[in-house]
Symmetry: C2
Subunit: 214 residues, 2 copies
């Protein structure tokens, strides 16, 4: 097993979404060139990325769409069910709890946590809200592997420590701060600013090219 | 002006956050090697990325932290104020409206829109909510350049069309669907699945390396 470059990991969902749309449209075979064109990528890059999943395209036929979809899903382990806690039942936490599609990626939110007493004991989209101090014991009991952090920055480390104490394997961090954790715990910081940076910079570069055309 | 590779655009906020923390700690000069180590990147990559901002490090001194911060901010045009609409005042829209830090990146939410009659006329975090049919005229009048889409997938294209009709330059799309737009309109799809893919795949690879150690 090779270590997968992070940009490859991040591109795989884009291939997946595109391939699913193709399958819905009845497409059975597809070439890396067509995938590359549709996603504005280099076709060599596409072939390299897809090689990580273990599926190899054939010179003339290309890839079988269904086979490739399954290979990506398995590679990302999205066919495996993972039970997760959402910590922070504010707006973003509620948005996460309400977004059904995460189940398509194996992620099942089984409980949420908040420090706000008025929320504890209630439900958000059918997910019950518990007190934050219940995290370690409940995580252990329920064998939770993923914690989704949607708390303010100042609460993030404290809550992360509780999740780690509960034996969590990975934290999906939406709090705008970095988190310290033991090496064996995966911390994935979701950065809203990444796509905002791409957006604002592209605005400049699009403007520039338009000006050049005139 | 060169076209900036998208991965470079997306890494710049990470440099920015790191450099800001360094400046807070009183660090005045920094080398690309130290930046690379802190962010688990290759130092050649770091130098290449930072070159796009126009600032060049000196062989022994490295970069001046403050100069580099300003260069990144200017490159991303985050020193320029941009007025934006948020369309979709549900959980995710509310989370966006409540997240004050976007102002640090020049993004000011001046109005929000929803199709839910009970929300129209109310405010979320001081931002007034209007009816969706007001988008084109208000966008033109207020010279809005950015639209943030936090509506369900099935409503995304219709709402995007209204924003485009109103003369918007860019759409930050959080709806889980692709949007068609004229070439001169920047569409940035924010994909939650990108970081989820990195998270779940890293869980496997971390497991594997742990097993190897034992």
């Amino acid at each position: 097993m090779r270590i997968t470059p992070e940009p490859t990991m991040r591109r795989l969902p884009h291939y997946l979404h595109f391939l699913k749309r193709q399958m819905e449209n009845g497409v059975e075979k597809i070439s890396s060139t067509i995938i590359a064109q549709a996603l504005s990528l280099d076709s060599t890059q596409v072939r390299k990325d897809l090689e990580y999943t273990g599926v190899k395209g054939k010179p003339k036929t290309g890839f079988f769409v269904k086979e490739l979809i399954n290979a990506i899903l398995e590679f990302l382990t999205w066919t495996t069910r993972r039970d997760a806690f959402v910590v922070g039942a504010g707006n973003l936490g509620s948005a996460m709890l309400g977004y059904n599609r995460f189940r398509d990626y194996g992620l099942h939110f089984v409980a949420a946590f908040d420090s706000d007493e008025s929320k504890i004991g209630t439900k958000i989209y059918d997910t019950p809200i518990f007190s934050i101090d219940k995290i370690p014991s409940m995580a252990q009991q329920m064998q939770i592997t993923v914690g989704v952090l949607t708390v303010p920055a100042q609460a993030a480390q404290e809550v992360a420590d509780l999740l780690i104490k509960g034996g969590i394997k990975a934290i999906w961090n939406f709090a705008p701060t970095y988190i310290k954790a033991p090496k064996e715990v995966v911390i994935e910081n979701h950065q809203f600013t990444e796509s905002l940076a791409a957006l604002t910079r592209k605005m400049v570069e699009v403007d520039f090219h338009l000006l050049k055309k005139e």
